[in-house]
Symmetry: C2
């Protein structure tokens, strides 16, 4: 029920919270949750470690709020893209294109998703739920395209949804390791293109 903002506080505090979240995004993206330290994040926004902990009770709470914020941003981003693009194909390509301009966020997700495979990881449940949801959303989109005759109707929508997410994640790893090795957007689009073709 809480929005994470019911703390109120002064304007200065709210700005700091945002700055801390931005710094945490960077540091977690570079070193993962376990490899990152609160001291590093604190220093990046000109605070001491206890200064940071005044705004977020613990390292784990910081991560969880970061993910919650990201959920909101992503939902908005997807809603906007959905409004601007009529087909699933165009929508997915647009999201991929956006990611190609935000390596920081792509890194954050790539490393956190891998870390979170461990059930003890604080973001495990979040990623579990996220993948479950996204698979359902994409599968629904695929099914709709099949009804409209834009995707081969003999394909299994759930399997295709898993494949689309897998291709998204997998290409990101290669792209992050060596951006020049893979034209992420083009290769992803070529993959989607093959779904469109009929036998």
């Amino acid at each position: 029920m809480s929005t994470g903002r019911e703390r109120g506080g002064y304007a200065k505090g709210r700005e700091r919270r945002d700055a801390i979240l931005a710094a945490a995004n960077e540091v977690f993206a570079k070193r993962g949750f376990r490899g990152a330290s609160l001291a590093t994040i604190a220093k990046q926004v000109g605070l001491t470690e206890p200064g940071l902990l005044h705004h977020f009770a613990s390292k784990e709470e910081l991560l969880l709020e970061l993910l919650e914020l990201r959920d909101q941003h992503d939902d908005e981003r997807i809603a906007q893209a959905r409004a601007a693009h009529t087909t699933l194909h165009d929508l997915l390509v647009e999201l991929c294109r956006q990611n190609a301009d935000r390596p920081g966020i792509v890194r954050l997700f790539t490393i956190l998703a891998a870390e979170s495979v461990d059930e003890d990881h604080p973001a495990h449940d979040w990623f579990f739920d996220r993948y479950t949801l996204r698979r359902r959303q994409v599968a629904a989109g695929v099914a709709a395209e099949q009804d409209d005759g834009r995707i081969d109707p003999t394909l299994d929508a759930d399997a295709i949804a898993s494949q689309i997410l897998a291709m998204f994640d997998g290409l990101q790893i290669q792209w992050l390791l060596d951006p020049r090795s893979v034209d992420m957007v083009a290769v992803f689009e070529a993959f989607l293109e093959r779904l469109r073709r009929r036998r």
Copy 2:
């Protein structure tokens, strides 16, 4: 030029080294390189931390030897599978099937690959080289299949190679997070099947 075994040593020592590498595999797979501690690994094989460091000079050296060993194993595994399966399709499905029975190793690679995106990570170069090599190998295999008429010759072999590796990695993440959500082998095979079909 070194094989990592020129140290010689007694039989007991060689057994311990193997046991340490096996334990490191487990612990790194669960917590990543940065999240893992030498003490945990040492305890798992009944050693103290300095006892472990008698066999491996540093945590980083332990990781690097683990990866070197894995390279050897994988090359053997691929060579065997290549001998037993005539087509690229069958070969890849067989490797995927084997991975479905070794979640520990899949976890190790998933988390280390994500961590190693950071250039400061000790395994960065290893993963960079590994992906470069695998892409080249798979692209060559795809090109051969195109010559034989088993894959649509209008497709770009390099792009397809990236897609195959991406699908491999991406499905593994979903499968590790929730094995029941994805039939990894079946979904991967369905993906490959679509390459075979002509327009």
